[in-house]
C-alpha cells in the first residue's frame, strides 16, 4: 500500500508486469524520454530501448505493428499519446485487432493494450480533448477500460496487460496528478463496478474523471439530506449491469453522467438497458448528462460550458428525487 498519483500507479504497474513477463513491451512516440506526460519516466533506463520503444509519428504503424506483434507471441502496450490521434489508426484497431480472433476462427488472439489518454484538459481544443469511449463499446472484440482512481489504474492495467483481448485503456489526462492509496493486492477484474459512495435516494452511474464530479455532487446533496449512490463502472465493456440494477432497484432513480457527447454516448446504453430491465420499478425517468453535441472549444468559458459539473449533476438529482 502506498499513496501515489494516477500516473505513477500505472507506471509502477507497467514496471511490475514487465518484470514478470519479458514478452510485455511498450511502443509509442517519445517513450524513450519518458512519454509526453511522463508516464514512462524511468522505464527506459530499467528496460532498455527495445522494450520501451520509441516510434516514428506513425500511429497507424504503431497500432498495426502491435497487432502483428501480438499475433506473434508478444504482449504490446501501445501508447497513442492523445485519444484523438488514435483516429489515425482506426482500421488497425477495429478492422484488424478487434476482428482477427473471430475472422480466423480462434487461430489467434490479439493481446494488446492501447493506452489512449482522453478527455478535456484545459484549453486543449477540439483535436486534443475528445472522449470516444462509446465508440469502442460498439466494436465486438474490444474491451474498454476507463479508470478513475490511482487504485483502479493499477488493478485494471494489470488485468489489461494480462488479458488476451485487445483492450482500449483510456486514462483521463486531468487525473494524471490525482493522488490516492494504491494497495498492493490483486488485479481488478473487468466488468466489476465500484461503489464510490453508498446512498439510497438516487443512483449516479459514471466513469473516468466524471466519477469525481459525481462524488462531489453527492457530497453536496448529502448536506441537503439527499443520499446519492455513486457507481464507477470502471470498465464499459464488459459493464457491471448487476451492480447498476441492484443500486437502481434500491434507489428507483438513475442518472448516467459522462464527459463525452451525450448523443450516441455510452450513457444511452446504460439508460436504455436500465429503463428496460427495471420498467415499472422506477420512481423517475432515467436521465443522462453528457456534453452537448459541440466540438470542444479552446476558450476557457466556452470549454467550461461543455463540462458535466458537480452542480449540473446535483441539480438533476434534486429534480429527480422530487419525483
Amino acid at each position: 500500500m502506498a499513496v501515489m498519483t494516477y500516473a505513477d500507479a500505472a507506471k509502477t504497474t507497467l514496471a511490475e508486469e514487465m518484470r514478470r513477463d519479458p514478452l510485455v513491451w511498450c511502443l509509442g512516440e517519445d517513450l524513450g524520454r519518458g512519454g509526453v506526460f511522463g508516464q514512462y519516466k524511468g522505464l527506459p533506463e530499467e528496460f532498455g530501448p527495445q522494450r520501451i520503444s520509441d516510434a516514428p509519428i506513425s500511429e497507424a504503424a504503431i497500432l498495426g505493428a502491435a497487432v502483428g506483434a501480438a499475433m506473434t507471441g508478444t504482449r504490446p502496450v501501445v501508447e497513442m499519446r492523445f485519444a484523438d490521434f488514435a483516429l489515425c489508426a482506426v482500421d488497425e484497431l477495429v478492422n484488424q485487432a478487434a476482428k482477427a480472433r473471430y475472422m480466423f476462427g480462434g487461430q489467434t488472439k490479439v493481446p494488446l493494450v492501447v493506452r489512449e489518454p482522453m478527455g478535456m484538459w484545459r484549453s486543449s481544443a477540439a483535436q486534443h480533448s475528445q472522449s470516444l469511449e462509446s465508440w469502442y463499446t460498439h466494436i465486438p472484440g474490444l474491451v474498454v477500460v476507463c479508470p478513475a482512481t490511482p487504485h483502479d489504474n493499477r488493478g485494471l492495467l494489470k488485468t489489461a496487460i494480462r488479458s488476451d483481448d485487445p483492450v482500449v485503456y483510456m486514462e483521463h489526462k486531468n487525473l494524471w496528478a490525482l493522488e490516492g492509496e494504491v494497495p498492493d493486492g490483486d488485479p481488478i477484474p473487468f466488468g466489476v463496478a465500484r461503489i464510490a459512495r453508498a446512498g439510497t435516494d438516487v443512483t449516479i452511474v459514471s466513469w473516468s474523471a466524471t466519477v469525481h464530479a459525481a462524488t462531489e455532487a453527492a457530497e453536496s446533496l448529502a448536506s441537503e439530506g439527499i443520499e446519492a449512490e455513486v457507481i464507477d463502472l470502471r470498465t464499459l465493456w464488459p459493464w457491471d449491469k448487476r451492480a447498476v440494477f441492484a443500486s437502481v432497484e434500491k434507489t428507483g432513480r438513475l442518472i448516467v453522467a459522462h464527459e463525452s457527447v451525450q448523443v450516441g454516448g455510452f450513457g444511452a446504453e446504460v439508460a436504455a438497458t436500465v429503463a428496460d430491465a427495471l420498467f415499472g420499478k422506477l420512481k423517475a425517468p432515467v436521465k443522462r448528462l453528457g456534453s452537448p453535441r459541440v466540438p470542444i472549444a479552446y476558450a476557457p468559458p466556452l470549454e467550461d460550458m461543455l463540462r458535466v459539473t458537480p452542480a449540473k449533476i446535483a441539480e438533476m438529482a434534486r429534480t429527480l428525487v422530487q419525483q
Binding site: P56, G64, P76, F104
Partner: protein, 334 residues
C-alpha cells in the same frame, strides 16, 4: 538449353516442384471459380490465376515457421505456404472444418499452423502486421522472418510508407513483395501512381529493392533467396517488385471489360506455368511428367471441391465463439 538458362544452373527437381505447386494453385482457383458459378461461394473471390509464379517463388524460400501475410488475393500464397487445400476449400464454402470454421472465408484465409497469418480485406493492412510480426521475432531473438505480399495498388496507401519505414528503422527481418499486375480493380495502377514506381519508393526509405519478372518463377525464386538470406543475416528489410498479370477479372464476378482482349491474349502468352513448362522441357524434362503435374493437381482439387461441398455447415454455437474472453456477446445477455 540456351546458354543463359545453363547459366542459371537449373535445379530441375526444385523446378518440377514449383511446377506442381503452380498447377495446384491454378487448379484450386479454378475450383473456387466453379464454386462461385455454382453459387456455393456468395462473397467475393479474387483468383490469382496468372500470378502463381510469385506465390511459389516467394514461399519456396520461406520456412514453415516463417510468417506470411497476404491480401484479398491470397489463396495461392496460402497454399504455397503449406496450408491444406481441403481446409481452405471448406473455408471458402463457409463450412465446418474450414481453417477458420467458415467464419472468415476467402478474404480472410489463414493458416497459423504454417505461419500464414491471414489474408486481409483491407488493402495494405498486412504491411503493418508484418512489420509487427518481424518486430516480435526480433524482440524474441528468433531467426524467423516475416513476409508480406501485396498488390501494386497498395503502394499508394499510408501503410506502405509507415510500415516500410518502421521495418527499416528497427532493422527488422521483413520481406516485402509487391505483386505488380498493372491493375487495382478496374483501374490501371499506373494512372494513379506517381513517380518511378514501387522500388524507388522503397529505396527512398533505405530498403534495398529489386524488380523481377513475376511470371518467371525461377527469377522470383532467385531474387527471394537472395533477399531472405540477407534478411536472415540481420540485414534488415528487403523489397521485391514482381511484375505479373492477372489472367482473370478482379473477382470471379468481374468480366474485366476494361481491358482490351489483345492485352489479355498477350498476357496469356506469358503464362507463368507455360513459361516454366517450356524451361523444363528445354532442360529435358519429359512432357508426360509435366502433364502428370497438371493432371494430379486437377484431380486433387476436384476431390477437394467435392469433399468441401459435402462438408456440414458450422454449428450455430460457433457464431458466438472466438469473439473475446471478456463479456458475453449475446443480445440476450443484455
Amino acid at each position: 538449353m540456351s546458354a543463359s538458362k545453363t547459366a542459371r544452373n537449373l535445379d530441375v527437381d526444385r523446378l518440377l516442384g514449383h511446377h506442381r505447386l503452380m498447377w495446384r494453385i491454378r487448379a484450386f482457383e479454378e475450383a473456387a471459380l466453379q464454386a462461385n458459378t455454382e453459387k456455393l461461394v456468395l462473397g467475393a473471390i479474387h483468383p490469382s490465376i496468372g500470378q502463381e509464379g510469385i506465390a511459389v517463388g516467394v514461399c519456396s524460400n520461406l520456412r514453415r515457421d516463417d510468417i506470411l501475410t497476404s491480401t484479398h488475393r491470397g489463396h495461392g500464397h496460402t497454399l504455397a505456404k503449406g496450408a491444406d487445400a481441403g481446409a481452405m476449400m471448406r473455408e471458402l464454402l463457409g463450412r465446418e472444418g474450414g481453417n477458420s470454421h467458415g467464419k472468415g472465408g476467402s478474404m480472410h484465409i489463414a493458416d497459423f499452423k504454417v505461419g500464414m497469418l491471414g489474408a486481409n480485406g483491407v488493402v495494405a493492412a498486412n504491411i503493418h502486421i508484418t512489420a509487427g510480426a518481424a518486430h516480435a521475432i526480433k524482440l524474441r531473438g528468433e531467426d524467423r522472418i516475416a513476409c508480406s505480399i501485396f498488390g501494386d495498388g497498395a503502394i499508394n496507401r499510408g501503410p506502405f510508407l509507415e510500415g516500410l519505414n518502421w521495418a527499416k528503422v528497427f532493422v527488422l527481418p521483413a520481406l516485402y513483395v509487391c505483386e505488380d499486375n498493372g491493375y487495382a480493380s478496374t483501374t490501371r495502377t499506373a494512372a494513379m501512381t506517381a513517380g518511378p514506381g514501387a522500388a524507388a519508393r522503397a529505396e527512398a526509405l533505405g530498403i534495398p529493392s529489386v524488380e523481377v519478372d513475376g511470371n518467371d518463377v525461377l527469377a522470383v525464386d532467385e531474387a527471394v533467396a537472395d533477399a531472405v538470406s540477407a534478411i536472415r543475416g540481420g540485414g534488415g528489410p528487403r523489397f521485391i517488385v514482381a511484375e505479373t498479370y492477372r489472367l482473370t477479372g478482379h473477382t470471379a464476378a468481374d468480366p474485366a471489360t476494361y481491358r482490351a482482349p489483345d492485352e489479355v491474349e498477350a498476357a496469356w502468352r506469358r503464362d507463368p506455368i507455360a513459361k516454366l513448362a517450356q524451361m523444363l522441357a528445354d532442360a529435358g524434362v519429359r512432357g508426360a511428367d509435366l502433364a502428370e503435374n497438371e493432371r494430379a493437381a486437377k484431380q486433387e482439387m476436384d476431390a477437394v471441391y467435392t469433399e468441401a461441398k459435402a462438408a456440414p455447415w458450422p454449428p450455430l454455437s460457433r457464431g458466438y465463439e472466438d469473439v473475446q474472453d471478456a463479456g458475453d456477446p449475446r443480445v440476450e445477455a443484455f
